[in-house]
Amino acid sequence: MNISVLLNMVPDLVEELEIDASGTALDTQWMRFLLSESDEHALEQALLLKDRHGARVTVLALEPGDAEEALFSSLAKGADEAVKITGVSPGLSKRVVAMAFKEALQATPSDLILTGVYAIDDLDGHAAGLLAGMLDLPFVGVTRSVEPVNGRVVVQKEYPGGFAAEVEVGLPAVIGVLSAPQPPRYVPVARIRETRKTRTLTERPVSVAESLPGLTIRRLFKPEPAERAEMLTGTLGDVAGQIVTILADRGLVR
């Protein structure tokens, strides 16, 4: 089975987000990026399928957002090939991301396309579903496990309220992963550094329109805190005391 895993880099929220002078885009100059969490799970899901059933795993990522680290890290974890997609700056558009992946995938025939079902910077869509719609492929999103069965896959799809269903999907298909059945594997930094020396990335230029058809970003802004919590301050000991008083007043410690 040929599995393609699509990786998206997202802003690291540990850092303060900065909005650029236009007021309609993020200032990415000093921004730190990391691999989107559900993509980490998509990669883990692909590597689990490779470990258990054998597969060839190709990871693909768009160049902007320091994708190289994530691509080399994927190789170090066991991916067979890593493709860096160049020639596109999607900004905040997941539709542009999906179009770029669609074009890049033409050179990587895939039975199964796995990607995270969402990213924290989604605005004009979620790349997994958009791509499936553009490719007219079967699609299930918000999944927590993928197993091959007789040339198809059976996925566990989450429904609201803690419910889920096992859905059988013919291949090729796009699956939007929320969680893998086990936590994403860890790879030591030294191994990634080693991989940078011994492996290369496949560069794949694409050319897609970068406008958001039908959409205009009018304003990007930080929320005004409406009713914020009352912040408890003082020494840690004071704060602990204040919390206990609040709890005692409500009869929660006796």
């Binding site: 579903g129 007219d136 309220g161």
Partner: protein, 333 residues
């Protein structure tokens, strides 16, 4: 696609014979939007044996339902294919989904296949000069984006709790219309093999009076025992955000939020939880929320009653000590 109407369509979510509360929030908001656009509110109800639910959708002017065994269980393919066929026939101006595990699948799939603009995770939607303007919540609540949609048909997904549900509840009987499956059942190409119940666990966190909730800030499994000690001192149990469950540190039965449990304890003590909308959905109605997060800008402080912007590992031992002292349990110090 036929020329667009100005109608606002709401996709009705239902599970086990009940319409999701979220759907009423969308119906209520749609009344304003349809009014401003000069169209009608149309509720789209897909499933098997769903006809009895149509009567509860009186906030809509019209309910279109497709009742067919092929739609018995949700798959994005089945419901998406039917929605697309209906939308191509009737050309709604705006198609609204909840930002749920069903709505996010359908909205993105349709936006991709039909080339319709989409804005996800909206907190607000309005109409200005005949155009739809939507405010999307991004980056776990740290960023908002106001986007205008041209004058063409579009799709939005809406966060749970963005609009009041009361406005979407109505005793008025809507006009109800049954439409046969508009595509061949063979086009629905996916099979649901079985339904899976929510994870059953050792404890039912929705019944605990006190919840000590841990998030990714807890860093590793070895740090859990100290939170368990604190929880048992307070007569409660430990629950968590999703990443803690995904890491395998706690069972799925302890997860609070969109894909976990909805809880309403007397006390929710959130430790190292950022306050993403999917988490907040599950705990915002707790009687008392106290949040500890080292990031003073963490969105959890928008829902908490009291907040402490410190390292949880520094506060926890002192807090435990203070509670022990208050309870007269402190060791012979």
């Amino acid at each position: 696609m036929s020329p667009s109407s100005q109608d606002v369509w709401v996709y009705v979510e239902h599970l086990r014979g009940t319409v999701a509360g979220h759907t009423y929030e969308l119906l209520g908001k749609s009344r304003d939007l349809a009014g401003a656009l000069g169209g009608r509110v149309v509720a789209i109800l897909l499933g098997n044996g769903v006809q009895p639910l149509a009567g509860t959708l009186g906030a809509a002017d019209r309910v279109i339902y497709v009742d067919d065994p092929a739609l018995a269980e949700f798959t994005p393919q089945a419901h998406g294919t039917v929605l697309r066929a209906l939308a191509e026939q009737q050309a709604p101006r705006l198609l609204i989904f909840g930002a749920t595990s069903l709505g996010m699948d359908l909205a993105a799939l349709l936006a991709g296949s039909m080339g319709m603009p989409l804005i996800v995770n909206c907190k607000d939607i309005g109409v200005e000069d005949g155009r739809v303007v939507a405010t999307s919540q991004m980056c776990g609540g740290k960023l908002l984006c106001e986007a205008g949609i041209g004058d063409r048909p579009a799709i939005v997904t809406v966060l749970s709790g963005a609009f009041p549900a009361e406005k979407g509840a109505s005793d008025r009987p809507p006009q109800i219309e049954s439409v046969p499956l508009p595509v061949s059942p063979d086009a629905l190409r996916m099979k649901v093999l079985r339904l899976l119940e929510p994870a059953a666990g050792d404890v039912d966190i929705s019944k605990a009076p006190v919840l000590v909730a841990v998030g990714r800030g807890i860093q590793r499994k070895e740090n859990l025992p100290m939170t368990e000690d604190l929880a048992s001192l307070l007569g409660g149990v430990v629950c968590s955000s999703r990443p803690v469950v995904d890491q395998g540190w706690l069972p799925a039965s302890r997860q609070v939020g969109k894909s976990g449990m909805i809880v309403k304890p007397k006390l929710y003590l959130a430790l190292g939880i950022s306050g993403a909308p999917e988490h907040v959905e599950g705990m915002k109605d707790a009687d008392l929320i106290i949040a500890v997060n080292s990031d003073p800008k963490a969105p959890i402080f928008d829902v908490a009653d009291y907040g402490v912007a410190v390292d949880l590992f520094e506060l926890l031992p002192l807090l435990t000590q203070e509670i022990e002292k208050r309870k007269g349990l402190a060791a012979a110090s």
